[in-house]
């Protein structure tokens, strides 16, 4: 599994598609489905939390079953602490899950201005 992170609107999806370099690439946007690329993981976390489900273990199980996928997630932790408790929990959860995924990932890429930097290469 490879993890691609970065801010909003940085070209992460195009970067991941180039990375895979395959003729036919399935992208699952905001859902844990069988696909080459899981896009907008932060939305998946938000939805699981809204439904009061265990985001950490559901995502962990998914990755165990799909060890070759590329996961794309927005970095969400660079602002002030939100006033709303759910938003705080959400930011913490996205951060924690990305740390977990980064540990498992063979490679971690950070994309800024469309340019990816490999920040972990196992």
């Amino acid at each position: 599994m490879e993890l691609v992170i970065g801010g909003k609107s940085q070209g992460k999806l195009n970067y991941a598609i180039d990375l895979l370099n395959e003729p036919c690439i399935n992208v699952s946007d905001g859902e844990l489905k069988d696909a080459h690329i899981i896009y907008n993981l932060q939305n998946i976390v938000r939805n699981l939390m809204t439904e009061e489900r265990d985001a950490i273990s559901e995502i962990d199980n998914f990755v165990n079953l799909h060890p070759n996928c590329v996961i794309i997630c927005d970095e969400v932790g660079y602002g002030l602490v939100p006033i709303d408790q759910f938003e705080r929990n959400y930011r913490d959860m996205v951060g924690k899950i990305c740390c977990n995924l980064a540990k498992k990932a063979t490679r971690v890429h950070r994309v800024i201005c469309g340019i990816g930097t490999v920040i972990k290469d196992a």
Partner: protein, 183 residues
């Protein structure tokens, strides 16, 4: 030659960008004035005034000729052997999107074609932009469009740049291109 400098607010982007613009201008061995600064920030209040003054003080005595231009920067004339710093993209985009004489819905294309025009005129362009993409907030449509436009502009300009730098606590982290040994 184009260099894009990005980074968080107050992360030392301006000093890095000024150093590149000044050093590259000096290398051109030009007898006439060839160092320009395109200032894109509209001043609306006291805070804006202070911010502009801080930047003026920072670049005083460095030999910049300042051109204040809030929209349509492509029409600025620059001599061929010049070095020009544009500061900054986040203000320019807001002006193009929201000013009465701005490009409105066509802002991204307008800015990209203006940058391409200036890159043809000047020998060296240094462009300062801003990282506003990672706070995790969900904004209204108005702000979301602005953030997405700035992200797209940054990607496109990075694509045509020779060097892309992220300034982190004043340290240049090179995302693309060769290191400037003098920073």
């Amino acid at each position: 030659m184009i260099t894009l400098v990005t980074g968080a607010s107050s992360s030392g982007k301006s000093l890095i960008a000024e150093t590149i613009a000044v050093t590259e201008a000096a290398k051109l061995n030009c007898k006439c004035d060839n160092l320009f600064y395109i200032a894109t920030m509209h001043v609306y209040d006291k805070d804006g005034e202070n911010r502009v003054q801080k930047h003026r003080n920072m670049r005083a005595d460095k030999g910049f000729q300042t051109i204040e231009k809030y929209t349509n920067i492509g029409e600025i004339e620059l001599p061929p052997n010049s070095s020009c710093l544009i500061e900054c993209m986040s203000n320019l985009l807001a002006n193009e999107m929201y000013d009465k004489d701005g490009a409105k819905d066509n802002s991204v294309n307008k800015i990209l074609s203006d940058i391409a025009l200036l890159a043809k005129k000047a020998y060296n362009l240094v462009i300062v932009t801003n990282e506003v993409f990672s706070d995790g907030n969900i904004y209204d449509e108005f702000c979301t469009e602005y953030i997405s436009n700035l992200g797209l502009i940054n990607q496109k300009i990075a694509g045509i740049s020779d060097t892309v730098i992220e300034s982190v606590v004043g340290i240049p982290v090179y995302l693309k291109g060769n290191n400037y040994a003098y920073i």
